[in-house]
């Protein structure tokens, strides 16, 4: 009973085993072949990638080379040198021309700046001298005490003149600016400057080089010693580096007009 049934099943098993072995070998082959194929494609692809890259690099290098001077013939090189030399000369003369212009322009600017500078300085000086503006700087303070009222306006006129002689640029008496049109007046112990009565105890401020100003007043036989001979009058000189005088009162010029100079 058992034998006939057993034989086919055994054959079947053997057949099955052979089949599976074959299938395994086939799949193994397939794996190996696909592996080989992958290696083939990979190495060829790497080679071609390199070829493509080098090809482009080579073309670019060649393009640079054909544009370079090494490719030119001797004749062409001579012509190129000639052209470049001529161009160079033109450019060099252009540079020289432009440098000259730059120099000229710089000089013109300098001249103009100097003129402007001088004009500004002059204007400032004129403003100070004319008393148009308040001024400050080094100078001397002349303090005069006259308890017995013996001083006359002309003493102050002389004082102002002496100070101007000593280089005073701006003078103020009791904080009233002495300008080009100022005048001292008064009498009987009363001194007026441009209509302002000066209080007793005069303080004269003069801007200028302090040494020169002091010297002009303290000369032997100078104003200081002259004033000191009057009874009760004392004169003190103090140098200072930082003094200031106010601007003169504004004044209308209605009579005189400048005369135009014939050119």
């Amino acid at each position: 009973m058992g034998t006939p049934a057993r034989t086919p099943s055994r054959d079947k098993l053997v057949h099955l085993r052979d089949e599976s072995v074959k299938a395994f070998q086939a799949s193994e082959n397939l794996v190996e072949r696909s592996f080989n194929q992958a290696r083939l494609v990979a190495s060829l692809a790497a080679g071609l990638l390199l070829v493509g890259f080098l090809l482009v690099a080579q073309m670019r290098g060649q393009a640079t080379f054909s544009g370079s001077l090494e490719r030119q013939s001797d004749q062409n090189l001579a012509i190129i040198i000639e052209q470049l030399t001529a161009e160079n000369n033109v450019l060099r003369s252009e540079v020289a021309r432009l440098q000259m212009r730059l120099l000229e322009a710089g000089q013109a600017t300098e001249d103009r700046a100097r003129l402007l500078n001088e004009a500004t300085k002059e204007l400032n000086a004129v403003s100070v001298v004319a008393g148009l503006e308040a001024a400050s700087g080094p100078g001397v303070v002349v303090t005069i005490a006259d308890p017995e009222r013996v001083l006359l306006p002309q003493d102050f006129v002389r004082l102002v003149h002496e100070l101007r002689g000593g280089g005073a640029e701006a003078i103020a008496v009791n904080a009233v600016r002495v300008s080009a049109t100022s005048g001292f007046s008064g009498g009987s112990g009363r001194i007026e400057l441009d209509g302002t009565t000066l209080a007793r105890g005069y303080e004269v401020i003069a801007l200028g080089e302090p040494g020169n100003l002091t010297q002009s007043l303290e000369l032997p036989g100078g104003l200081k010693s002259t004033l000191a001979t009057f009874p009760g009058v004392t004169v003190d000189l103090t140098k200072s580096d930082d003094l200031s005088v106010p601007a003169a009162a504004a004044r209308d010029f209605s009579v005189g007009t400048p005369v135009e100079e014939a050119q």
Binding site: V41, S43, A45, L48, V51, L54, A57, Q58, R60, G61
Partner: protein, 114 residues
């Protein structure tokens, strides 16, 4: 096949993008080397179509051919036979055309056009 075309295109794109340029002094060497590389690639394609491709043979051939090509030109320069590079160019050029013809025939056979 498509992968190979893509690889070539990728190489060209890479070359264009990186803006790499061969120094002028190396131009002749690399020119012949590139020719040798093209020859090696065609030989590899031919071998793969004949199903005799071996990656070791291909890689070693690729490297030695390119290096030797450049070296021959270099030697020619050194010994005063500058025209030696012509020999390399002729040899590799002929091989390139031979391989190209073989590849063409093999492809025809494979596609059944013959």
């Amino acid at each position: 096949m498509l992968a190979l075309v893509l690889a070539l295109a990728l190489g060209v794109t890479l070359g264009l993008l990186t803006n790499f340029s061969v120094p002028v002094a190396w131009l002749t060497y690399l020119g012949v080397a590139v020719l040798a590389a093209i020859d090696a690639c065609l030989g590899g394609i031919k071998a793969s179509l004949e199903e005799t491709f071996d990656d070791k043979v291909f890689v070693s051939g690729f490297l030695t051919n390119t290096l030797m090509a450049a070296f021959i030109v270099f030697v020619g320069d050194r010994i005063g036979v500058r025209e030696l590079y012509l020999a390399a160019v002729v040899a590799f050029g002929m091989r390139v055309f031979e391989n190209l013809g073989d590849v063409r025939r093999l492809l025809f056979r494979r596609w059944g056009w013959e």
